[in-house]
């Protein structure tokens, strides 16, 4: 192989200007979260476990009929996770709350995609099939998806599900935040509008945070002083109020920094404008040029 000096210095000069041209602007990571998207506030003290939300979700998304019918309470005997046939499930916990007879009282917890403000799944998706919309929904575009399932690896709430038994055209399945519905003025998610206890409040995120804080302060002793989802993983569009510690109700204690912060910082500080590959390329060609100089012609086969 031959690598002339001219080539080499050409590359070096090119790199130099590339790197200089790169403004010294700090590559500090910035959140891409919408300022005041739609959100839902779930008040666990109101939920009675009627599973009307599950049923409404099933119909709104044309999902297959459930294994255990929506009015059968035996379903609570096991803890369920959302999957490709149900985007939301209600689980029963005994978090320690008791009645006057000293019997443990159940708390029902509805779970679904949290529609994170800086979603890991969106940052991870290889093709950008998942996007965070301005209205708050984390939206899935099946026409781009290749089925790598990296979104599922990434999601801290362990939500996206996969159609493992579809051989050719499987999809990632998760709560859509009823994207179509909430895109229309006055539209609300199916689960939120059906709830008979008004346990799910739909509205702009900032307003819901005000409502949540108001409920906490107007009912001293009723709620724990945390709004789950306000800050967890950079904040989410679905948030929860509870009378019992969240950890006893199946919620994880999560870090506050959104995971994409670390990965995107690494990726962009290493690869923005491809500066490091170009630099490495020039250095290596330089070394190659010098080391093989005396080796006339150097035409060893490769």
């Amino acid at each position: 192989m031959t690598l002339s000096r001219r080539n080499f210095f050409g590359i070096m000069a090119g790199t130099g200007s590339m790197i200089l041209g790169r403004t010294k602007k700090a590559t500090a990571w910035e959140s891409k979260a919408p300022d005041n998207p739609y959100a839902c506030l779930v008040d666990l003290t109101r939920c009675v476990g009627c599973r009307k939300c599950e049923e409404a979700c099933n119909q709104a998304n044309h999902l297959p009929p459930p294994d255990i019918s929506f009015d059968d309470k035996r379903v609570f005997d096991t803890k369920r996770r959302p999957d490709d046939s149900r985007y939301t499930v209600v689980n029963r916990y005994y978090g320690g709350k008791k009645n006057e007879q000293d019997e443990l009282l159940p708390t029902f917890v509805k779970i679904q995609c949290m529609h994170c403000q800086d979603p890991s799944c969106v940052s991870a998706c290889i093709v950008g099939a998942l996007t965070k919309k301005d209205n708050g929904a984390v939206h899935y575009d099946v026409s781009k998806c290749i089925g790598c399932r990296y979104c599922m690896v990434a999601c801290p709430f362990e939500i996206p599900a996969y159609e493992y038994h579809n051989p050719m055209t499987p999809q990632v399945r998760k709560c859509t935040f009823c994207f179509e519905k909430i895109s229309k003025t006055g539209g609300r998610p199916a689960c939120a509008s059906v709830c008979p206890m008004e346990a799910i409040t739909f509205g702009p995120r900032k307003k819901l945070l005000d409502i949540a804080n108001k409920r906490i302060h107007e009912n001293p002793g009723k709620y724990v002083h945390t709004i789950y989802g306000e800050k967890e993983m950079g904040g989410t569009s679905w948030m929860y109020l509870s009378a019992e510690p969240f950890e006893s109700l199946g919620f994880q204690k999560l870090p506050l920094a959104p995971p994409p912060k670390l990965t995107e910082t690494i990726q962009h500080s290493l690869f923005s404008f491809l500066w490091s590959p170009i630099l490495l390329y020039s250095v290596l060609s330089g070394v190659m040029c010098l080391k093989n100089k005396d080796d006339k012609g150097g035409s060893h086969e490769s």
């Binding site: 690598l3 890991s120 991870a124 093709v127 290749i146 790598c148 996206p160 490495l280 490769s302």
Partner: protein, 387 residues
Amino acid sequence: MSHNPYPLQKKFFTPGVYVMLVFMLAGGVTILARFIGGIGYVSNLTNLYPWGLWIGIDVASGVALAAGGFTTAALAHIMGKHQYEPIIRPALLTAALGYTFVVLGLLVDIGRTWAIWKPMIYWNPNSVLFEVAMCVMIYLNVLYIEFIPIVTQQFKSRFRLLGVLEEHLDKIMWIFIVAGVVLSCMHQSSLGSLMLIAPTKVHPLWYTPILPLLFLVSAIAVGYPMVIFETTLITSSMNLDAEMDTLTPLSKISIYLLGLYMILKIGDMIVRGTYIYLFDFTAQSNAFLCEMGLGGVVPWIMLCFEKIRQSRKGLFIISCLIIFGVLINRINVFIVGFKPFYSTTSYFPAIGEILVTSGLIATLMFIYRLAVTWLPVLSAKAKKGGV
């Protein structure tokens, strides 16, 4: 030092080759089943464990163990250490085959196989996986280009055009060689960044922000042991000279590379204080101790003894241990250390997953053998002839 790679032209069908064929057949049938019944039909993958054996071994370990290709190219071509040229071709062949199988493994693993081309159109530069995919794709092509001279050399006497191609290619080959090294550094490290998006799921013994650096250094460190491993394997199975005079000095470099890797890993453990998990006696802590001890400390100590390095057997054992260490590391990061919060069971690969992976590995070995038999890859002389 002159070397002349030549096709071995030895008997191809040995009992070992028949074993390979059996595995290939079993793998093929399983792949067929996957495309009829879906991924769930042949695997134990679930919503909580979306990645398993196929990503952990076929992709992550495959890429790491194919590192011999770029490390030898860097040594012999870029650093100008021409005495190592005899090992370039076998390493290149392994890399080209290895990466081909990474892609084949991916084709089985991803849900929408026919959509594999989509990342070329729909870009997400925030995604680590996107960068890995791009690098692997380009690098695979670079490897094929680097491989062309081996084919042209064999057939140019029959087709004149190939000779012309070879000549022109030779002039610009340096572009591809350097590109190969750069691309490798990029995706070897990014493979480590992949799991950083899941801080709550990866066990703290492995979850560290320097995971990309650890992946890069370990890939470089495993490159030469991998070359030693396969050279020893193929020369002994084909009854050739062991090329010890190339391999022993090569192993000396490993002292520094493996040493650096160990320092980084242990230092990281001390800085993050994760040594508190070391003696938990969970699957994770045991796997970590096994990875570090058997796959790191032991071979490093062995490497320090000149005597062991000079014996063919000793060198082979060292290489096996280092390869084992890196292999276990990748499996640990992607499978053993991956513990989702809501999981009630742990993941263990299904027989179908194992059959696909073993089938792919058998195919790789089969083609490797095919290539060294009919193409000028190896330079080792038949045993008694000497070099």
